[in-house]
Each structure stands twice: as structure tokens, then as C-alpha cells.
């Protein structure tokens, strides 16, 4: 059986999510069975680019959904974002250095059968429905589903 790798994606920052997907695709390319568990701000990475969210049940969730729209191409930088200016410059630099963009890397991950699991509790808190997430996302799971995978993994990260 193939070795397993699990990655918790807690952050919704572009740079951190990019690192998570580079490791995920690298591990999958080495024949590992990779599961990514998206929780809290990390959910933004697997949200559809079309906001605002539809799963919101009250005005607070709706407001949070507006301010926290998500989508792989919308994530901010963890440092020097400067209202999007820093991110724009970073994207330009990365392009000139031939760095693969996050949406391309996510496509590669999906192609390599990396599993994308959303955390049910975070979805409930943020009012994010299954319909707000990209179609490749797996069923919403709880902590036990993650720990069961993590316990069998040789590589386990929290990003």
C-alpha cells in the first residue's frame, strides 16, 4: 500500500496555501496517497471564485461571507499584502520566475488524486455550503476522519 500524507490547511493566505499545494503535489508525484483537510480560513482556498457564499444562514454569516470571499485567485499574502498591492507585485515576480500559479497547482493536485476534505464545523461557523466549494471537494468531515488519516500517515503537516 502507498505511504500516506496528510496536510491541515488552516491558513487562507496565498503564500501558505501555495506551500501546502507544492508539498501535496510533490508527495502525490512520489506515489503517496495525499489528503488535505481544509479548516477555518483554509476553506477560502477551495471556495469557488464566485462570491458571495450561498450557504449563509443569517446576516452575520452573510457579512462574513462578503468580507471573506475566498477563491484560489483571491487569497491575500500573509505579509506585505498592502490591500492587494503587495500581492499583485508578488504575483508578477512569481510569473517572471515561472512559478506555477495556485489555480494551476490545484488542478495538478486534483489530477494526481489528492483528496480535498472540508471541515464540517468550519463550514457551519462560516455559513459555507457544499455548493460554495469547488466541485472536486470531498464530503464534509470531522476531526476523527482527519486524525484517522493522520495516524496512518508518514507525513503530517499543519499549515
Amino acid at each position: 500500500m502507498a505511504d500516506k500524507a496528510t496536510i491541515v490547511v488552516f491558513s487562507g493566505d496565498l503564500d501558505k496555501v501555495l506551500a501546502a499545494f507544492i508539498i501535496a503535489t510533490g508527495a502525490a508525484a512520489q506515489g503517496m496517497d495525499v489528503t488535505m483537510f481544509f479548516t477555518f480560513w483554509g476553506l477560502n482556498a477551495i471556495k469557488k471564485d464566485k462570491g458571495p457564499i450561498k450557504g449563509a444562514k443569517n446576516w452575520m454569516q452573510k457579512m462574513m461571507g462578503m468580507m471573506n470571499r475566498g477563491g484560489a485567485s483571491r487569497l491575500p499574502l500573509s505579509k506585505f499584502n498592502m490591500g492587494g498591492m503587495g500581492k499583485m507585485m508578488m504575483k508578477k515576480i512569481m510569473k517572471s520566475q515561472n512559478v506555477t500559479t495556485l489555480p494551476e497547482l490545484m488542478e495538478a493536485a486534483i489530477d494526481l488524486d489528492v483528496k480535498l476534505w472540508p471541515c464540517k464545523m468550519s463550514m457551519d461557523v462560516m455559513g459555507v455550503g457544499k455548493e460554495d466549494l469547488i466541485p472536486e471537494t470531498g464530503n464534509p468531515v470531522g476531526v476523527a476522519a482527519y486524525t484517522a488519516e493522520a495516524a496512518q500517515s508518514k507525513l503530517n503537516l499543519f499549515i
Binding site: 502525490a28 515561472n98 497547482l105
Partner: protein, 77 residues
């Protein structure tokens, strides 16, 4: 060095050369040799590591004006 299939990853940064190598390797028969072109210096360490982990044989690497030419032999299915 002789090879059966060539993969061009020029202009691609980590992790794409390895991701494409893994994908291409699936198309090869056991015993065939894949030649991978890359201009990412990281490939010098990455390709032997990838071959080692996946149970394939790393045959060597040639360097030509900033281009790295790697040879990997398919050992397992």
C-alpha cells in the same frame, strides 16, 4: 545516453518537473528510459530523490548551458 521517451519541462519551476515526470512515467513500459529536460537547478537533487522514493532507477544527469538532462529508468509498474 540512450532513451525511449523525452519530457520537456523547460521554463517550469518546482514542483512541475517532478509532477510531469510522475505522470509521464506511467506511460512507459518497465525497462524503458525517460529523459527529462529541465532548467530548474533543484532538479539535481529532486530527480534522484523522486526515483529513489518511487523505486525507479536514476541513471544520471548531464548539464548543458543551464539545462539539466536527467535519465530515469522505469523499474516498477
Amino acid at each position: 545516453m540512450d532513451f525511449d521517451v523525452e519530457l520537456d519541462t523547460l521554463g517550469k519551476q518546482c514542483p512541475i518537473p517532478i509532477v510531469k515526470t510522475a505522470k509521464k512515467m506511467k506511460e512507459l513500459e518497465v525497462g524503458q528510459v525517460l529523459r527529462v529536460l529541465s532548467d530548474d537547478e533543484g532538479i539535481k537533487e529532486d530527480m534522484p530523490a523522486w526515483a529513489n522514493t518511487t523505486g525507479n532507477e536514476f541513471l544520471g544527469i548531464e548539464e548543458e548551458d543551464g539545462m539539466y538532462i536527467c535519465y530515469v529508468k522505469k523499474v516498477t509498474q
